[in-house]
Symmetry: C2
Subunit: 269 residues, 2 copies
């Protein structure tokens, strides 16, 4: 990997929804991904623990000398982005701000729903970001603590997932939202069931995708885009390769077995 690499990280598999978009819009870029699969999920943990884990994760990625980092995790973006930005001079792009902008552009009735982890909802990150763009917008936020375990265990379209979706979106439906932010990068993996239950009249905003678009725009503005035809991608995880490799390969629609490696991130307590 050269200094041309884009670093991407998440607590687990979810950040791959951003990687998939990056590959689509910037196929020539080298990407190095880190998923903290030994400590996933983050979204039910405390602010302090999330910040500690996130800073350890970023330190691992910075050793790979990236030109920019995508924080492909709604939880980390919501509670630790300023801590992460203080660690480096390179651009560190989170999901919240670009996603908030996309949702404000998408809504027709001014009513937006947010699905996120407990930590994301508690942080009020989306309320702050959307309030700064258009304070007249009505927000309804719902924590979905079971979504990450459902995704990480492969329950992508299953009656249990369907029941969880119905429960979590009820307050959003009651509020009459026409736009729903998938505030955690794991959630686009639940799009089939979410779309089916929410219906066509509701626009789903994919936070991983919006963050990938924002990163591409930032690199373009700084003339830092790669000129290669096809980039190299390398995936690191903190737990066993096998499980990740399998689900990730299915999700990215390519076999990545040889490109995944297990590593230990440095901890300091």
């Amino acid at each position: 990997m050269s200094e041309q690499t884009i670093g991407v990280f998440d607590s687990g598999l979810g950040g791959l929804t951003a990687v998939r978009e990056l590959i689509k819009i910037l196929p020539g870029e080298d990407i190095v991904y880190f998923g903290d699969t030994a400590r996933v999920p983050y979204g039910t943990r405390s602010r302090d623990t999330i910040r500690k884990f996130a800073m350890q994760d970023l330190r691992f990625l910075l050793d790979k000398n990236p030109k920019a980092v995508l924080v492909a995790c709604g939880t980390i973006s919501s509670v630790a982005l300023s801590d992460l930005r203080a660690m480096t001079e390179i651009p560190v792009i989170g999901v919240v701000e670009p996603t908030a902008r996309a949702a404000c552009n998408a809504t027709r009735n001014g009513k937006i729903g947010i699905l996120g982890t407990s930590a994301t909802v508690k942080s009020q990150s989306y309320q702050t970001a959307i309030g700064a763009i258009d304070p007249s917008i009505q927000l309804t936020a719902q924590a979905c603590p079971l979504f990450v375990p459902l995704v990480e265990n492969g329950y992508l379209d299953h009656p249990i997932t369907e029941l969880a979706v119905k429960e979590y979106i009820a307050p959003l439906q009651e509020a009459g939202v026409d736009t729903v932010i998938l505030g955690c990068t794991h959630y686009p993996l639940l799009k089939p069931v979410l779309g089916r239950i929410l219906g066509d009249h509701v626009t789903l905003i994919d936070s991983g995708k919006e963050a990938a678009l924002a990163l591409a725009a930032a690199l373009k503005a700084q003339n830092q885009l790669s000129s290669a035809a096809e980039g190299q991608r390398r995936y690191y995880v903190s737990d066993e390769v096998g499980n990740f490799s399998h689900i990730a390969g299915m999700f990215l629609n390519q076999n990545i077995d040889g490109a995944v490696e297990k590593v230990s991130v440095k901890t300091d307590d």
Copy 2:
């Protein structure tokens, strides 16, 4: 805490099902509990990661100078017990062996079901233990990867939990088991819904309780029981106190707010 303390640990809340039993049968004992709430769940992680985390947890407890340690976690007991025993001279009691014995005593038709984490089921720990007691017993094991997230997030008796229970017990019902091992110490928190769906003719074996009984017998045999009327209990967790304190207090049926402390366990990679 004196050298009279009993150490108990688990990945999170589950081990409290063993603590509740210990308090009931040995009210005079001091107990020091550790729940690794910053890294829960363990049961969906790899063998190597579970062993690493478990050894770090035990090291923390050994610094408290206990007279014995109860490994109140089915996953750790299944994959790391010998590693833990190699770290100390004091008795280290796991859940598998006493629970296997209790299940063999309880079954009338020789058909036993095991509900456990993915790691526990993969380890075949119960198959080995029960095979050594009575090789004629027919075992049906089922991994239940959603149970720990359901419990840790407070979905103790909820339609989503009910649906997960129905799915996981189907193969056990098909096999005609009359005895079901709750192979993870989180699962007794799901007893109301498990009992309702399995019915009265099925005996539930609580692994935390069986391990607590085994520990009490071991201490008695070595004349190490405390003579105090009421022991002191201290709870340590690796993430925020608040959430744990609340659910733990409800579960133990006493307010333990002042007795819970957040700590960092030493990691070494």
